[in-house]
Symmetry: C2
Subunit: 370 residues, 2 copies
């Protein structure tokens, strides 16, 4: 259980076709995980989510500890039973939300003290508590608590946060008891390659079942992010899945896969869908635009999602009227788009043509669709 299998290594780049097994099912890699922050991928019912081809979803520990609380979820039989998703679930540790969302009060060696973004009450998260919450939630993959910083930032602060993240990872590992759940470590270190390397090596020594690259897509240039991924991956164990946290656009997914990343999560397909933006092979399409008002074409020919069984004009009409179904349909389309993208990437890797696959996709995305 929780084994990584390398199925095929692309002959022309670092992209790899793998598989990760959990007690709730196998995940074909590379994989994209839709974000179900509060026990729900916004606007999407579980059977619809299954139809998008999603294999695993993400839940946010921070949001779920705030509402409804991990005790409630646990008493109700765990996160899977609570939300009805029977496949694997990965929960993050809350580290990123403490950085991005809560009003952070203090970070010490012990942990983080912060105020809830909902009602302002004081909360704290230590490595041990992040583990306990995720065990109460009963997710299949739990993330260690890490200390996330924005970029750019001083090297000394980045180094401190990285070193703390390693110590916290060790504490998380020690606190972990749930046999049906595994833990992934998170590599920090900003854009300092030597710090990333040290972090990766020290975490590798702890022998986690999977490794994430965290603390990216937090203000740096996009090329700097790609370069940092490339500089970090050689120091991660080859026989473990690699997860790039919180990234990103379709092109970022492909750039990540090309460098050897196996797993991704991002709110972009769902959030952009709610905001009337559809991903297509010809670039992004803004459905509020009046140009679509009488367009009988689907968003994407051949896409099996419910939105693409209708016209662009219909989706435009729904957004124009403020109908809930507009955000729902585009959310389904965008998740389906991402899942078809990684499915096609998996096939391309198996056939050693992932580099060509990227080139084709990039040439489509290069021109705006409207």
């Amino acid at each position: 259980m929780f084994d990584y299998t390398l199925i095929h290594q692309d002959a022309r780049c670092a992209a790899r076709r793998g598989r990760f097994t959990t007690t709730r099912g196998t995940i074909e890699l590379p994989a994209f995980m839709p974000v179900g922050t509060r026990g729900s991928v916004k606007g999407v019912e579980v059977s619809q989510l299954e139809a998008t081809g999603s294999q695993i979803i993400l839940g946010n520990t921070y949001h779920l500890m705030v509402r409804p609380g991990e005790d409630t979820v646990s008493q109700l039989g765990g996160l899977h039973k609570f939300c009805g998703w029977t496949g694997p679930i990965l929960t993050d540790s809350g580290g990123f939300q403490i950085f991005s969302l809560a009003k952070l009060t203090k970070i010490t060696e012990e942990g983080a003290v912060f105020r809830s973004h909902v009602d302002g009450r004081q909360l704290s998260l230590t490595p041990e508590r992040a583990v306990a919450i995720q065990e109460a939630l009963g997710s299949d993959i739990a993330m260690v608590l890490d200390h996330v910083l924005g970029l750019p930032n001083e090297r000394s602060r980045i180094e401190d946060a990285m070193e703390r993240s390693v110590r916290w990872a060790a504490r998380c590992q020690k606190a972990h008891t749930l046999q049906t759940q595994t833990q992934f470590a998170i590599v920090q270190g900003g854009l300092e390659y030597d710090l990333r390397r040290r972090c990766a090596e020290e975490l590798s020594d702890l022998n986690f079942r999977g490794y994430a690259i965290g603390g990216l897509s937090v203000g740096e240039e996009i090329q700097a992010m790609y370069d940092c991924i490339e500089a970090t991956i050689p120091y991660l164990p080859e026989d473990r899945p690699r997860y790039l946290m919180g990234v990103g656009r379709p092109e970022d997914i492909l750039e990540g896969i090309r460098r050897g990343i196996d797993m991704f999560d991002c709110v972009m397909p769902t959030r952009n869908g709610r905001n009337a933006m559809a991903f297509t092979d010809a670039g992004s399409v803004r459905l509020r635009n009046a140009v679509h008002a009488r367009d009988p074409r689907p968003l994407e020919e051949g896409c099996p999602c419910p939105a693409c069984q209708r016209s662009r004009a219909y989706v435009h009409h729904l957004f124009n009227c403020g109908e809930m179904l507009g955000p729902i349909l585009l959310t389904l389309h965008n998740i389906t788009y991402y899942q078809r993208l990684v499915a096609a990437a998996r096939l391309a890797i198996e056939e050693d043509r992932f580099v060509d696959f990227c080139r084709e996709k990039f040439s489509g995305w290069h021109g705006a669709a409207e």
Copy 2:
């Protein structure tokens, strides 16, 4: 086509089990029609709607003429293709929305002049135009344009509006050309039984394929509505379906069926669902109430809807967080509740036990569920 078949008349009351055929499928009667005002049952994808057991949905002519306009819908292949619902669709005529929603400027013998509730532009609706719009939409059942009044009201005004509604019905019939669509007439007359009778008789002479009772649930006492239905039905042709427009609560549906009504539509299951209210056999349940926060039970044991595959606690959590999925799940539950109710009613009628069926349901609803 467009034939009504009486399958069984309950031996102990006026409830009847019938069937109505359209080019897009057969409707088992009594039937409940979810409301898809603007080409979408709010928050519900077509495959989810099918799973509720819905046989036919309603579209609103007024809303669709305002946005996106019937020409757009027609150019895109008609309302079915536009919204993806392949079963029968009934469109109302706009008469009720002119009364309830638009800023009415003037009603003359020619038609109604009013201002759009969206952008204030002046619009008009004549019987001929109501027919043309509904033909452009391509619905299966079109309603004649009627003159709707609120209650209470002066008898002379009610009589005028009723007589005008009869003349408009005749004009609608004359203007009608679409072979794949049939027209239903609408009986008006307020609570004046003699006017209802005259209207029913005069419309019966025009030989429509179906008859609606309109202008009820507009301010009168509920018993007065039931009595008026009972006073009107004897003057409607027995071999045509009878449709009670815009009604109502589950108990109103059963009271209508008991008096011989075959078809219903109402926004209540969908609107109340969006507002966190669920219909159950034990009465209505308000899911925002904190009492549900840790309740592991489904809304209704044995209900096959997606909401009932989760706990009340989960639905409460979704509303508590403002998650879109809360309104979606309760909308699906409530439509499913209504469809299971009429399905059970159909069976009870076939077995001559509809009166007992009503008694059982009423005793469940009598006590509030929380």
